[in-house]
Symmetry: C2
Subunit: 277 residues, 2 copies
């Protein structure tokens, strides 16, 4: 339980408190506007999710895009129009206010970043929650495979590839991948561990040469921060949920609301509940 | 390749020919109306699929029903309105004529059984292909776990349970399960093997007492044929694609076209391509 008596941070909660909070405790802080930081490491053990919100008439095509691209876009839950409670993955939550920071895109342009999107809400919006790599990163760390971006408090490095996602209706675009340098002795174990989590991007898409995926400069990621690949390490690439945002930029839906990168929705689903077996 | 010179059957193909045919060869026979038998055992190694066709305005809700019930309804491919070629799982196929026998439901009533549904087709129909248990049955047999219904040339026994599927929009209904008697020494292996195939109903839903799922009389299946459970065997239950048809009966969409039970669509996807890892 969160210790409210400890006052080390501005809001009255230490990072350690948050790192041991349960999903609903952390969501309550976010809803009250008392927490706007990225959610990596918060409510450990609970799966976090990417959010994509679209008008109802575009929802079938986006759903189909996800079904055809389950690597980057594994669907955890779809909330129908007229509702904003993801009752299967977080009963009682409100997707309009329970994420620390949102992005609003109109016609493919980022027009605002907000802590609350109630003002943008409409009864015809459909919400998609997509699995997030935090789930498999936690599993890698539990297995003794260190992840440098986490050790350094950075965002994971992400790259737009030359691989086209399978299109669906109006939605098309490139697959975005995240890259983690893995010690060459741990690459096989890394494949095994992440294969257990198909609902969190699953096994790597590619191991080794970045050029094979059309990545020109590994030192210059399109999103997030570069972390050095050491002599005895191999770059390992996973399909990334940011694909949905890259696709939005190209496909230009008239309205799309997402989480702001790194500021995820925290579900009540345990990471281990998402394991394939 | 099919041996067309051998004339043991009425149509000029022996069952042995068909059992060694590739997916496109067998589909070609079906399209020409030369094969109307159930598809169990045909084109071995290729995944077969359940078909559900619905008007476009009902398609989002049914898609959502499948996403919420991936055990009975694992989605292999969705073909958008205006098309009938499942280009991701069987390029060049025609879903209106490439299944040996179809069922047409209007307002939840079975109104016809046809070898060709071209006459019912409309540009606003959306096709769903859902994974089929033949995929995991082949894996069980390869692992030396015999399946009595196959040995006896019967349909698998299926039961309507008291477990409600998660509803979505207009679609709700009970989960239907298939039952296979498994030797008590093989039950664990059976769970392991079928867990590899989440796109073909995956791991069992239940092992043992049928009453726990609301099944009153194991000897009287709701669909298919009963096979005896011997002294040293345990009934093992899997979620079943017939759930979609049971849900149609209750939810009464104005039009729904499906395959006729056992008469599946044969895809070009290898069973092993569907394995989770």
């Amino acid at each position: 339980m969160l210790q409210q008596s400890d006052r080390e941070t501005r809001r009255g909660y230490t990072l350690n408190d948050l790192m041991s909070g349960s999903s609903d405790e952390v969501r309550a802080l976010i809803r009250r506007g008392e927490l706007t930081r990225p959610t990596a490491g918060l409510a450990p053990g609970y799966a976090q999710a990417n959010l994509v919100v679209l008008p109802e008439d575009l929802a079938f095509d986006f759903f189909l895009f996800c079904q055809r691209n389950p690597g980057p876009c594994p669907v955890l839950e779809v909330v129908e129009s007229g509702r904003y409670e993801p009752s299967l993955t977080a009963r009682g939550a409100d997707l309009r206010v329970d994420i620390p920071l949102y992005r609003i895109y109109r016609d493919g342009e980022l027009v605002a970043e907000q802590k609350d999107v109630t003002g943008y809400w409409d009864d015809d919006l459909v919400c998609f929650l997509l699995g997030c790599s935090f789930t498999f990163e936690a599993a890698l760390i539990r297995a003794g495979i260190p992840l440098r971006h986490i050790e350094q408090g950075k965002n994971v490095a992400m790259y737009v590839t030359s691989i086209e996602a399978r299109p669906a209706g109006m939605f098309s675009g490139p697959i975005v991948v995240s890259m983690r340098p893995i010690h060459e002795s741990k690459v096989v174990r890394c494949v095994q561990i992440t294969s257990r989590f198909p609902m969190a991007h699953g096994a790597p898409l590619h191991i080794g040469d970045p050029a094979k995926m059309g990545i020109r400069s590994i030192k210059h990621p399109d999103y997030g921060d570069y972390v050095k690949i050491k002599e005895d390490e191999v770059p390992v690439f996973w399909a990334c949920g940011v694909t949905a945002q890259a696709v939005a930029l190209r496909s230009r839906p008239r309205l799309m609301i997402t989480h702001s990168p790194g500021h995820m929705f925290i579900t009540d689903v345990r990471d281990e509940e998402l394991a394939a077996s």
